[in-house]
């Protein structure tokens, strides 16, 4: 499969040189790697950060991610008359969407989604690792009945090995959603997970904020930010 490197500005290369060497699959889209985005990540990575700050700053990133994800939805041209009487050639949003959050950490991204897409429908899915087989297993799912006709924004903050995300896509496809109508949104991705996911579902787009160095022996993202759901809800 062909792959290409997403071009980066010179200023960014200094801070994440290790990523340049890796090939990023073409279906992966990163947020612009600005200093202020890096500053947001620095806050949520810091283990000393309070829960209030963690909530606020992760929400800011999530909003940016959702906005970026929506840009991959189709639009049609639309002409409107402005209050000043002028004609404006714009675009209209095309196609219905829904969110699907992978429990439990994915739920943390719902508020951000709803701030951008008012009263959007949100499905839920619970996937856990089966201790006997070490495979991701579906425990629970609840989707809008017409999900097959919608574009799906799949929400999970961390993409480590990609096991649960791939299982979620599999479940969605079983419900009639084509892989190319799924947009997977996460805050931090490991190169291993990206490569696993994209080789299996090359047509599903991935929107990520930051690509980290890799995984450690326990499959935690390095440097990562710890357990997103735990930090957001429990600690």
């Amino acid at each position: 499969m062909t792959s290409l490197t997403i071009p980066q500005s010179p200023a960014i290369q200094a801070t994440c040189a290790h990523i340049d060497d890796q090939k990023i699959p073409p279906s992966v889209f990163k947020l612009p790697q600005t200093a202020q985005l890096e500053a947001l990540y620095t806050i949520i990575r810091d283990k000393e950060t309070s829960r209030g700050d963690f909530l606020f700053y992760s929400d800011r990133i999530i909003r940016l991610l959702v906005e970026e994800g929506l840009n991959h939805l189709p639009v049609i041209s639309r002409v409107v008359e402005t209050p000043t009487g002028a004609t404006y050639h714009g675009v209209g949003f095309e196609g219905k969407i829904c969110g699907v959050s992978i429990l439990r950490a994915g739920e943390a991204m719902e508020a951000g989604l709803r701030e951008v897409c008012r009263s959007v429908r949100i499905g839920k899915i619970l996937i856990q690792r089966d201790e006997e087989t070490a495979q991701a297993k579906l425990f629970y799912s609840k989707f809008p009945s017409d999900i097959a006709k919608r574009y799906v924004l799949l929400l999970d903050p961390m993409l480590a090995t990609g096991g649960s995300a791939m299982k979620a896509v599999e479940v969605l496809m079983e419900h009639g959603v084509p892989a190319e109508r799924i947009i997977f949104i996460n805050l931090i991705a490991a190169p291993e997970g990206l490569s696993n996911f994209c080789s299996r579902y090359p047509t599903t787009k991935i929107i990520t904020g930051w690509i980290d160095e890799g995984l450690n022996e326990k499959s935690y993202i390095i440097p990562g930010l710890g357990d997103f759901g735990e930090r957001r809800y429990c600690l």
């Binding site: 801070t15 600005t34 200093a35 202020q36 890096e38 500053a39 990540y41 620095t42 806050i43 990575r45 810091d46 283990k47 000393e48 606020f56 800011r60 909003r63 940016l64 906005e67 929506l70 840009n71 939805l73 189709p74 639009v75 639309r78 409107v80 008359e81 402005t82 209050p83 000043t84 002028a86 004609t87 404006y88 714009g90 675009v91 209209g92 949003f93 701030e115 951008v116 008012r118 450690n216 935690y220 993202i221 390095i222 440097p223 990562g224 930010l225 710890g226 357990d227 930090r231």
Partner: protein
Amino acid sequence: MSNQLLKHVLSGPPIISTSPNPPGKDLKLFQPKKNTVLVSHGRPPWYGENGNLIGDAFVIGVAGGSASGKTYVAREIVRSLGSIPTVIILSQDSFYKYHSPEELALAHANMLDFDHPDAIDVPMFVNCLADLKAFKQSNIPVYSFAEHQRLAETKYLYGATVIIAEGILALHDPSLRALYDLKIFVQCDSDLMLARRIKRDIKERGRSVEGILDQYLRYVKPSYDNFVRPTASHADIIVPGYNNSVAIELICTHVRRQLQERSNQFREKIAIPRPGIKSKFEYTTPSPTPEELDLTVLPNTSQLQGIFTILRDKKCSRQDFVFFVDRLSTLLVEYALQHLPYVPKTVVTPVGIEAPGKQLDANYMCGVCIQRSGGTLERGFRRVIRDVPMGSLLIQSDAATGEPMCLQVKLPAYIRNRHTAEDTWVFILDAQIGTGAAAFMSIRILLDHGVREEHIVYVAFLVARGGGISIFRRAFPRVKIVCAEVDDEMEEGWLEGVQDEVTNPGGLGRKVWIMQPGLGQIGDRYYL
């Protein structure tokens, strides 16, 4: 030095005072009220098209003996001048020095001479007056006559066109005199001043005639003879302390003529919005490109186009309008943050690994909202920057002249204090830059306060390329301007008369510049 303040009484009986206040200072308890700020219908531009200040404030010094009628003269001048912009009456009493514990004890024992020139903190008086004259802000000290002490708090003053500095020694110091455009001495016979004083102190303070006379002879009279009366020679005009309506009328005629002359002289240079009309300052015939204007424009994504299509549609419901304005402003403020400085910072993640990163490198940050339409960006601002102060400016265009008028200035404490203002990053929130008149004025207000031009980030939904933005850019090249879209032109339009007691009492319609295709009246669509 403090000894100079003391007046040792070597002869005469010890003073027995029933008043807790020092002799000669009874009235001063009332005098914080003497610092008066009077605001009329708004302040027209005080700067030229190059962004620089034009001229300075007109400063009048009023001196005269205690109870000679200085305050009366000052107030009459203000009253007679009528509808001129903001006037500040600054009282010398605010500038009593900070007292040491020994001086404080003497003050409470009525042994401190408050009528002596050494009681006044002249350098501070001069600084404050010079700042106000130069159209800067000033935080003047607050003196408590109950505690005989300068308080920790200060009073913030800004934006006067006319300043009246009033006090018995207002003409005493040469550095003060150098600041006055007009020097007035209120001349009153000693016996009349004493008579007024006795009457006033008995009536208002319940003091005895004996006590009043004693303090008069000990402090008030020597000070008047030695320091106050001689300064009459510096005055441009000597006004009688009674029956002085003719004198005040003459002064006001003079001041009005002076102000008018300045106004005529500056009219040509004042930045008045006239988009589309090629003034002599307008060299560029075609509208400049966003690059030439150095605008930071949001990337033109399909979502952004979709949002604008909804917002520009005149049939857009109010709910939709509010929702998408909030969404757009959030994006816009996120985008604007790229102009802040960041420095490297390394943190340890919960996984136990060090992660190199960045952190914000700004001491102070605040928002300033240009009412009313700038308020539409406030929710987005709060979603991104949750805990910074938010100021507000109310700038309206005058119905008759089209000039912007500054009606209210409410700025965060960071900006009010000059030393923090220099370190403060300010986000100005405004719906659009059309004529650029309000934008121009808001920048000038911040610069007056000492905010650095390169620390100002102007955030607006729309900028009109053919509008006042080029003049704005030439005047303030270092201000960062962040917008979501750039519209091409400005068209002359007619705004239906909105009756407004302040700017448009007749409810007349007025000519305005309208952006095309624009967003219509953003404030109305968001709020009404």
